[in-house]
């Protein structure tokens, strides 16, 4: 049933020796596979289980079905299994490919198809009108269309429609740093579609966004969303089979640079104990761990503490990979599990650098401790700007 990507799949799937480490439990990483943990250790929900099923699909010895497809969609594509696999199997890539096949066979997840429809119609997965994409932008923060902008700010759907304060604070910071930047008529980066088996639609979005960005003439694109960052930086060159004519920078990276260069001055405030949640798409998928930490540590009177599950061992917030749309309750349960790890170190503030993580962690926080503040690092910085 699987043809054009057979070679890639065969290479990956025949490497798996079923060692079970991908769903193991270790010291620094008490949970490797969240789906396995949340389903009461159901083997078909583990990476090992999925790889075995995928292999049978490749060998045509098993038929796809709605029930079978649950095994592949019950996964946030957090990449922890890929990070831990001794054989170096690119598990997330395998699962994305299988998802494409399952969607082609009409056994994908209904909620994913619905938001895909919203992206096609409204350029965002939130069923919001495209015209309202920049409703969050107050007049005093409009850019005035600089002639030669240095940056384009790719806001992203979640910041634009669901976590608007992050878009506002990122823009405030850019203004404060006297950065010459512009907005643009962006559409969804395509990440939700790539992760849920709708690659062809994602390709069209990529083409449109690249055209739009290119028209601005910038060489640097900023985004404050980890999902957009990973998609623009890593997926677009593969989708479009070419190098991008500009650099993609996450707001955490930019902030670290601006602070280091003295372009942002931060005020003092009462001491706060802050920890950081590594978004999967920024951390494990893209290797960006230090800049957000450098930013947090540079804020006066912040006591930065690490959770024991940090960096490449961070537990997923549960939002990404279509998990939130497909399995809302489990997604929030996972976010709550992540928040319970925060509670172990008594942090007052949980900072992150992804609006989607922010979104889900707040829901998880509500189940555990409503006093815990969940913030984006841009929000922390914006509050302290001098």
């Amino acid at each position: 049933m699987i043809n054009s990507t057979s070679e890639f799949l065969a290479e990956a799937l025949y490497k798996c020796g079923r060692c079970s480490y991908c769903r193991g439990y270790g010291a620094e990483t008490p949970i490797i596979c969240p789906a396995y943990e949340l389903t009461d250790r159901l083997e078909v929900a583990s990476p090992k289980g999925r790889l075995q099923i995928a292999r049978r699909l490749l060998e045509n010895s098993i038929r796809s079905s709605k029930e079978l497809s649950q095994s592949f969609f019950l996964c946030s594509l957090c990449g922890d299994c890929k990070d831990k696999c001794i054989e170096g199997i690119d598990t997330t890539e395998v699962f994305e490919v299988i998802r494409e096949v399952l969607v082609e066979k009409n056994v994908g997840i209904d909620t994913h198809s619905k938001f895909m429809g919203s992206v096609v119609e409204n350029n965002n997965p939130y069923f919001e009108p495209h015209e309202k994409r920049f409703e969050w932008l107050p007049k005093n923060l409009e850019t005035g269309n600089p002639v030669t902008p240095e940056y384009a700010y790719f806001v992203g759907c979640t910041s634009a429609y669901r976590r608007q304060p992050i878009a506002v604070t990122t823009t405030e910071i850019l203004h404060k740093a006297n950065a010459k930047f512009t907005f643009m008529d962006e559409v969804c980066c395509g990440s939700p579609l790539l992760r849920t088996g709708h690659k062809e639609v994602a390709k069209k979005l990529a083409t449109k966004n690249i055209e739009t960005i290119t028209k601005t003439g910038v060489k640097k694109v900023i985004t404050s969303c980890a999902g957009c960052y990973r998609t623009l930086k890593q997926d677009y060159p593969v989708l479009l089979e070419r190098e991008l004519p500009f650099k993609i920078i996450h707001s955490a990276e930019l902030l670290a640079e601006l602070i280091k260069d003295g372009r942002l001055e931060l005020s003092d405030d009462k001491q706060m104990k802050v920890t950081y949640h590594d978004p999967c798409h920024l951390g494990r998928h893209s290797g960006v761990y230090d800049p957000p930490r450098d930013v947090l540590k540079s804020i006066p009177n912040i006591k930065f503490v690490e959770m024991s599950e940090n960096r490449n061992n961070a537990l997923c917030c549960g939002a990404g990979g279509g998990f939130r749309a497909g399995y809302k309750d489990l997604s929030i349960e996972l976010a709550a599990l992540r928040v319970s790890q925060v509670k172990k170190i008594d942090a007052e503030i949980l900072a992150s650098s992804c609006p989607f993580c922010h979104y889900n962690l707040e829901l998880g926080r509500d189940k555990i401790d409503k006093n815990l503040k969940v913030v984006d690092i841009t929000e922390l910085i914006a509050k302290r700007l001098l």
Binding site: C19, Y21, G24, E67, I86
Partner: protein, 463 residues
């Protein structure tokens, strides 16, 4: 009532798996053995559920053997079910039942992984005596049932020596408690009651006599200090002579392993491997001490032995920075680094290892297969020898050749005076015949405890 309805009534519909795609993931383990699809997979949560399942299956004439499964990280086929099996997946039974600091014991359910247990124990300043190098994924129940080996065995003994009591559900559904815990109001501090050691019947039994549903293990304090050493030798003879001299004395060795140097140099080129490792043997030792001074003194004495045999001192690097850091997934790191391997496990008198080493090379060449060689001192009294044959999932056509090579190694090792750690049912009669009397007694025992033969057929040859 049909089996599926019966099982669903006991554990709940969502915990009985019948679809092919669900059962596929239970059809293999980490070995080369081909898949066998079970008829049902049932995922109980409590001992009572298991008792009901066994009582029913044992009394009815459905002819569905029961196969016990935890993590299925077996490299020798122990996790592959028999045809028409009902797989009993114990992964939902994963709690720590009790940490008893007074008796220095911990009681756990079989589906708990060593990694999870260690995460909790280390926070309290404890460890268990022996834990496998696949601790992150291996479950305690499976390890006990297959008499696994691992870190700490040299000092504390094997997993069987760690047990102070078990609970077992017998094939007829009866719950048997062994050790002092069998008496009401007595803590589980020793496996020795009056009469023979009943725990010992089930340790290493591969599930053929019943299912282990609760395990109590000894606790130890975390080591105070550690020392690490790595040496390279020109040949296996010098290496083993060093090991033999070490075994004659009383050192506190967490881990001692010998492997072909060339197999690791490629993977860790950043380390200084000296001049001998490339074509010789590397000896890795981890020592624990009551103080750093004590650990260092032991290390100095061990180093002297190594130097007497022309060993090259490679420092701490590999032992500390590579092995010890990855000790809980070392089985995976070591075994699967360069592809899949099937492993043969033997216990061998130390001084015979060079002979085994050479015979392995000869047989590997005869079959034109790559056979890696390594061994570990798990005790002062013998060495665990585990050659491994490389294979690929892409080329099942060579699997028969790999198995023939494996059988040839088995036969030769037995002839040379080694003791197999496993005697799986897939082995030919030419090998199992050598254990005729031992197996005859086991068969009689099995007949007595499992007269309807519902438990894990063929996990031990002939049973």
């Amino acid at each position: 009532m049909d089996i599926q309805s019966f099982l669903e009534e006991i554990v709940g519909e969502q915990y009985v798996l019948t679809e092919d795609f669900e059962k596929i993931v239970y059809s293999r383990d980490a070995s080369i053995e081909p898949p066998v699809l079970p008829d049902y997979v049932v995922r109980p949560r409590t001992i009572e559920e298991i008792q009901k399942i066994f009582t029913f299956i044992n009394s009815a004439s459905y002819n569905h053997p029961i196969h016990i499964r935890c993590s299925s990280t077996s490299y020798w086929g122990g996790g592959v079910p028999a045809k028409r099996s009902i797989v009993l997946d114990l992964s939902r039974m994963n709690e720590i039942i009790e940490i008893n600091e007074e008796t220095q014991c911990v009681t756990v359910e079989p589906g708990l992984t060593f990694g999870e247990l260690h995460t909790v124990l280390e926070h309290k300043g404890y460890r268990i005596g022996e834990r496998p190098e696949s601790a992150y994924s291996a479950c305690i129940g499976g390890h006990v049932a297959s008499m696994g080996a691992g870190l700490g065995q040299y000092i504390f003994g094997n997993q069987g020596d760690q047990i102070t009591g078990l609970k077992i559900v017998l094939p007829n559904g009866t719950l048997l408690t062994t050790g002092s815990g069998a008496l009401e109001n007595v803590p589980k501090f020793t496996k020795w009651m009056f009469g023979p050691d009943l725990s010992g019947l089930f340790i290493g039994s591969e599930g053929v006599l019943g299912v282990i549903v609760e395990i109590t293990l000894k606790l130890y304090p975390l080591p105070k200090s550690m020392a690490f050493a790595t040496f390279a030798f020109e040949n296996i003879e010098n290496t083993i002579e060093t090991v033999h001299q070490i075994q004659k004395k009383l050192f506190s060795i967490q881990y001692l392993s010998c492997f072909e140097g060339s197999s690791f140099i490629e993977t860790y080129p950043q380390l200084d491997w000296g001049t001998k490792a490339d074509h010789g043997i590397v000896l890795t030792i981890v020592i624990e001490g009551r103080s750093q001074e004590d650990a260092n003194i032991q290390k100095e004495e061990i180093t002297l032995e190594a130097l007497k045999q022309d060993g090259e001192d490679l420092g701490e690097g590999f032992a500390r920075d590579i092995f010890w850091k990855n000790r809980y997934n070392w089985a995976v790191t070591r075994t699967l680094r360069k592809g899949l391997r099937t492993i043969i496990l033997f216990r061998v008198p130390t001084k015979k290892i060079p002979l085994f080493w050479e015979e392995t090379r000869i047989i590997g060449e005869q079959f034109s297969l790559e056979v890696g060689r390594s061994c570990q001192a798990r005790s002062r009294h013998f060495i665990s020898y585990h050659p491994s044959i490389r294979y690929s999932e892409k080329t099942p056509e060579i699997w028969e050749k790999v198995k023939e090579c494996k059988n040839a190694l088995y036969l030769r090792f037995i002839e040379l005076g080694g003791m197999p750690c496993r005697l799986p049912g897939q082995l030919p009669e030419s090998i199992t015949h050598k254990f005729k009397h031992y197996l005859l007694f086991l068969k009689k025992l099995k007949k007595c405890i499992d007269p309807n033969n519902i438990m894990s057929p063929n996990k031990i040859a002939g049973l």
